[in-house]
């Protein structure tokens, strides 16, 4: 049994390398690449299951707790939370000021959990200033406010380019800034987590806070796009 498992893993690794080499060498027909990827994924899957299995047997992982935590981050926490903050800041100038001064306690006012035991900072877009958040070193992101980061935020292309070519990045993302707008890039290198307060779209006067929150997208709170215009 054990020998079989080890040899399967070795088989997967070797086949994967061979398949990758074939693709790189130019034989690269899509079905080969897909087959190679399937093998790589299968290897990750075996390794992940092995580690979780051993740690669970040793009582170092509680599977029930793990399921709850996964469900929480996959399904419960997300950009709808940050959107509430933004919408409130659009309708309540005093709240907006408290949010900009210290975002954690301001978020806690709205009953948002997990905002008092670490530091959060809200930065506001204006007609003169556009903010963009990045973590060049890894993937730091305000989980309690926005949930888990999107794949693009963790990608090398974004991490490498956001600090040096923010205007090109925004333009490629579909956001054209006027030349006289100042761009501020926030590199999350420590334990302070950033959220962008996008500008309130035109034509939203008199809308309810709930309706306003529906205009606030995840990517607008990273600075990668504007809030949506009302329908």
């Amino acid at each position: 049994m054990s020998n079989k498992k080890v040899s399967r893993r070795r088989f997967l690794a070797e086949t994967s390398a061979a398949a990758s080499a074939a693709t790189v060498a130019g034989a690269g027909i899509p079905s080969q690449a897909a087959a190679a990827d399937e093998i790589v994924q299968s290897d990750y899957s075996l390794r992940a299951k092995a580690l979780v299995s051993v740690l669970t047997k040793k009582n170092l992982i509680d599977p029930a707790a793990m399921d709850q935590v996964i469900d929480y981050y996959e399904n419960k926490v997300g950009p709808h939370i940050g959107a509430r903050l933004v919408a409130r800041s659009w309708v309540d100038p005093a709240f907006r000021q408290r949010l900009l001064d210290d975002a954690g306690p301001a978020a806690a006012e709205l009953g948002i959990p997990g905002t008092l035991n670490s530091a959060f900072r809200a930065v506001a877009n204006t007609p003169a200033v556009h903010n963009l958040v990045v973590c060049t070193l890894c993937s730091c992101y305000p989980w309690p406010l926005l949930g888990l980061p999107p794949t693009w935020y963790k990608d090398a292309g974004y991490r490498a380019r956001a600090v040096i070519d923010p205007r090109d990045v925004l333009s490629e993302f579909g956001l054209q800034l006027e030349q006289d707008v100042e761009v501020r890039v926030w590199d999350s290198t420590a334990e302070i987590r950033y959220i962008v307060i996008p500008e309130r779209p035109a034509g939203t006067e008199g809308m309810t806070e709930e309706a306003l929150a529906a205009l606030v997208t995840r990517d607008s709170m990273i600075g990668a796009e504007r809030a949506k215009a009302p329908a």
Binding site: L51, I61, D62, A65, L137, R159, A160, I164, T189
Partner: protein, 217 residues
């Protein structure tokens, strides 16, 4: 360390496509790696976790998906601290099942997470700098963990906000204590970092620890 993870300002990478509705996990194993990373009982903290990812060889780092980097890190640290052996990982069926501990359940998910952040040894520390001070990022290249990105080293900026007292990642990641100190939001003109390529109006703000900085003269 001057690793591949420190990629701010590198050229040649393609910009990813933004997918508004993409799932967090593309394969079931990613969900497993994520969840286990958050709940596993372990003697290391976030700084050492980050260093574990940064320590992946650069060629492997670039070709390894995000959660597979976590997996690699978890394997390496679990072995380093003796939670598991390589032989056990190769043959999980050989590991005996310990008497089951009681399962945890809580409406407050934070109660279910394993401790990610070390306790500060002290919440008090002398601030070497004040808002408005001109500071230079020391041109240091430590072989261990650091959160001073390479693109900022040797560059001059202005302290824009004192972020309070924090754990110093450089020592904490290496098991050398939390060395509590102030962290500052430092504003750099984009041209100070990138020369004429940057727009003259733009700025980059970086959170930098007291030990990274010296007064600009």
């Amino acid at each position: 360390m001057n690793g591949i993870h420190d990629m701010g300002g590198m050229d040649g990478f393609a910009l990813p496509t933004r997918h508004p509705e993409a799932p967090h996990f593309h394969y079931p194993w990613e969900r497993l790696v994520f969840g286990s990373s958050l709940v596993m009982q372990k003697p290391w903290f976030i700084d050492e976790s980050r260093f574990g990812v940064e320590s992946i060889p650069p060629d492997l780092y670039l070709t390894t998906p995000y959660y597979a980097r976590w997996l690699y890190r978890n394997e390496q640290l679990a072995i380093k601290y003796g939670l598991v052996t390589a032989a056990e990982l190769a043959d999980p069926d050989s590991v005996a099942v310990l008497p089951k501990a009681e399962s945890s359940s809580s409406d407050d998910v934070s109660q279910l997470l394993s401790s990610m952040v070390a306790e500060l040894d002290s919440a008090e520390a002398e601030a070497s700098f004040s808002v408005g001070d001109r500071v230079v990022v020391k041109n240091e290249h430590p072989v261990g963990h650091t959160r001073a990105p390479r693109y900022a080293r040797g560059r001059t900026g202005i302290v824009q906000r004192d972020q309070g007292v924090h754990i110093f990642p450089d020592t904490n990641a290496m098991g050398l204590g939390t060395k509590p100190q102030h962290c500052y939001s430092v504003m750099f003109e984009a041209r100070e970092l990138w020369g004429s390529r940057a727009n003259i109006r733009d700025h980059v703000y970086i959170d930098l620890f007291d030990d990274y900085l010296e007064s600009a003269t």
